[in-house]
């Protein structure tokens, strides 16, 4: 066994411990989960710092500034520094200046995206509800019925979202509530169609525990689990119950 295989196996065992820790929250939030939750956030934050440095600050800022002599990048410190004024009560507004600029950019990019996203959707909604003539009759009816349903659902759903018309108004009542029903139907469908993907995720984890984690891990794991369970029950839980009896409940 070479050293890289050993590390892969250690990795798999670490992975198994982490996996079991996260699954334990399904039963109840517990110290074991809590510990790994903090480790998780620590790992993700640590990796995040590294990725931000490597992909953003180093690549786009430090490298051009120091290695290519583009000294003007040092001015970016002014922009980045503005964030840190939120800690000052008196000069808070400086961070607001930066946020204002960022808000503006956010709004601008939305304007740009709007036409690209929604115009094609509009033209794709032009369905012909007239039955086609040169195909077999049943096909023609099906095709035109599909288009009709599509247009009907689209229109009623959009009608539901009009805010300035009272839904109690006569013309709106039927349309809007029909729209809401269609919406609920669609939500049910979206829900149902997601189940399989999520179940396969769980199957993936089970498969990982069974076929990727070295077998020798399991006896130790079961032993450790029993031990921890006993310790938890006798020390922590007992103490807690004693405390509960002793003191009246607060907050």
């Amino acid at each position: 066994m070479d050293s890289s295989t050993v590390f892969i196996q250690i990795g798999a065992i670490v992975g198994a411990i982490c996996t079991l820790a996260i699954f334990s929250v399904l039963f109840k939030e517990n110290p074991y989960y809590r510990l790994f939750e903090h480790i998780f956030i620590g790992l993700a934050a640590g990796y995040g710092v590294f990725v931000t440095w490597r992909d953003v600050l180093y690549r786009l800022w430090w490298e051009p500034m120091i290695n290519r002599g583009q000294w003007w990048w040092a001015l970016a410190i002014a922009g980045g520094g503005m964030f840190y004024f939120i800690y000052s009560k008196k000069h808070q507004w400086i961070s607001k200046l930066l946020f204002g600029a960022l808000f503006g950019l956010g709004a601008g990019t939305f304007f740009q995206g709007f036409a690209n996203t929604y115009f094609p959707m509009i033209s794709a909604s032009f369905k012909s509800v007239v039955p086609p003539m040169d195909v077999p009759l049943t096909d023609a009816i099906v095709a035109s019925a599909n288009d009709l349903v599509f247009v009907l659902v689209l229109i009623t759903v959009m009608a539901y979202f009009f805010f300035s018309i009272d839904h109690k108004a006569k013309a709106m009542r039927g349309t809007a509530s029909l729209g809401r029903w269609f919406l609920m139907f669609a939500f049910g469908a979206m829900f149902g169609s997601t189940v399989m993907a999520r179940m396969s995720l769980f199957i993936g984890r089970v498969d990982f525990l069974v076929s990727d984690v070295p077998r020798m891990f399991w006896p130790y794991a079961v032993g450790a689990a029993i031990l921890i369970g006993l310790i938890y029950f006798f020390f922590v839980e007992k103490k807690r119950r004693l405390n509960q009896d002793a003191e009246p409940k607060t907050g």
């Binding site: 929250v25 620590g42 304007f111």
Partner: protein, 444 residues
């Protein structure tokens, strides 16, 4: 990229050695000075300044988007537009039913011969416009190419005058020219135009081959011709967008770089927040402080290992597998994947609780979910797999497919339009500083 405006403003010259460090220090000082000056701004000017910053930043993207196309491609663009229009017309002429790929136009009945003739005419017109557009694009391409060479020469001269080192200049891979923002934009323009040319040629060939198939009245040939025409029309529309950038487009990448860098600085804030909260936990030995210690340990070990793995060239051999196999593959990705897989459980309890026949609405949700869930798995499909022929539309997998593509798609689109318009209104309010609420109303 050497600089935003290297050639016209000769101030922006890359430096090296002591001079570089001096300048960097000076610019840092300028930045700090700028921030100090900002602290002295009287409060009545503050709000207008924020509003102006918002407006200007939004304006950049809006204008870039709203200005249609550069001066040089206006003619080509109009030719392409006409070509596209004729292609769509031709496609329609041989489509018996709008938006339906089936069926055929029979030359013998219902004015079919007339329609085929019209389609041919339109295709010929499209061909004509395409070749005109190609000519026009070839013409402006030559012009841009000349501009590019001129700009490169200038950049070369510039390099010699200021003695820039190899490290400080960027060269294009193919012709060893110095690249700065302007040459880069020109180079991209030339290659875009070249690509557009070849695309036009491709589409034109496809169109002509489709035209040859038009007189064949068999359904499959017609369908093929229709597909080609519609693809060609889409292709032409794409070409139009690919040659339609304007004077602001080239500033988009640098703008987004600057933005990324400024964003990058904010990571410190986040980490600072995390570290103070957990630091306080440890310092005050609050209940569960050992979790905070674990957090610190994980944060530091991960960050250190990642940096060592990336930058320490002569690291001992265990560093790489330690980071990659244990910390990254073993811990981080397992945690992510398991957290994600919890959804499998929650989806069950949520479904159990929510799908009750309390109201028509939840009953409808339940019905749709039932059909879709059964329609995807083999067991459900097998339940109705006996239905054939006229009844085959009743099969669960077919119904499931229909639900997902017809009513579900329509409902999603109806919502999407609302969300789009809502977002647009919001963006407008932000941009013009018309938004209200505690954060926006506050005096500064």
């Amino acid at each position: 990229m050497i600089g935003i405006t290297m050639i016209p403003a000769e101030v922006f010259v890359p430096k090296s050695g002591t001079m570089l460090w001096l300048l960097v220090a000076a610019m840092t000082a300028v930045s700090i000075l700028f921030l100090v000056i900002l602290t002295q701004v009287p409060s009545r000017y503050r709000k207008p300044m924020v509003m102006a910053a918002t407006f200007i930043c939004g304006w950049f993207y809006l204008v870039e988007f709203a200005i249609p196309s550069p001066r040089d491609a206006v003619t080509a663009n109009s030719y392409l537009r006409k070509a596209e229009f004729n292609l769509r017309l031709a496609e329609h002429s041989i489509t018996p039913h709008y938006g339906d790929p089936r069926g055929r136009v029979d030359p013998k009945i219902n004015g079919g011969a007339e329609r085929i003739k019209k389609a041919r005419e339109s295709v010929d017109k499209a061909h004509l416009y395409l070749s005109k557009a190609a000519e026009e694009i070839a013409r402006i391409r030559v012009l841009r190419e000349k501009d590019y060479i001129r700009a490169c020469d200038e950049a070369e001269r510039f390099k010699n005058r200021y003695g820039l080192t190899e490290k400080m200049i960027e060269r294009s891979a193919d012709d060893h020219k110095i690249i700065d923002l302007r040459t880069k934009a020109l180079k991209k323009r030339v290659s875009d135009l070249g690509e557009a040319l070849s695309k036009i040629k491709e589409n034109d060939e496809a169109v002509m081959s489709a035209a040859a198939g038009l007189s064949d009245s068999s359904a499959s040939k017609q369908r093929e011709a229709r597909d080609v025409l519609s693809a060609a029309a889409d292709g032409v529309a794409l070409i139009r967008t690919s040659i339609s950038d304007n004077f602001l487009t080239k500033y988009q990448p640098p703008a987004s770089n600057i933005l990324s860098v400024i964003y990058g600085f904010s990571i410190g804030l986040g980490i600072l927040s995390l570290m103070t909260i957990h630091g306080k936990n440890i310092a005050k030995a609050r209940p569960g402080y050992y979790n905070s210690i674990a957090f610190y340990a994980a944060l530091i070990i991960m960050a250190v290992a990642a940096f060592l793995n990336e930058y320490w060239k002569s690291a001992p051999s265990f560093v790489k597998p330690m980071f990659q196999e244990v910390l990254f593959n073993g811990a981080l990705t397992s945690l992510q994947a398991t957290m994600f897989s919890l959804v499998a459980f929650y989806i069950v309890s949520a479904a159990y609780r929510a799908f009750r026949i309390k109201s028509a609405e939840s009953a409808l949700m339940m019905a749709a979910a039932f059909i879709v869930m059964l329609g995807i798995v083999p067991v459900g499909v097998a339940m109705t797999s006996g239905l054939h022929g006229n009844l085959s539309w009743l099969r669960l997998d077919n119904i499931q497919n229909w639900i997902m593509t017809v009513p579900n798609m329509a409902a999603q689109r109806g919502m999407a339009f609302g969300i789009g318009v809502g977002g647009l209104a919001m963006a407008l309010r932000i941009w013009l500083s018309l938004e209200r609420g505690s954060y926006f109303d506050k005096q500064m």
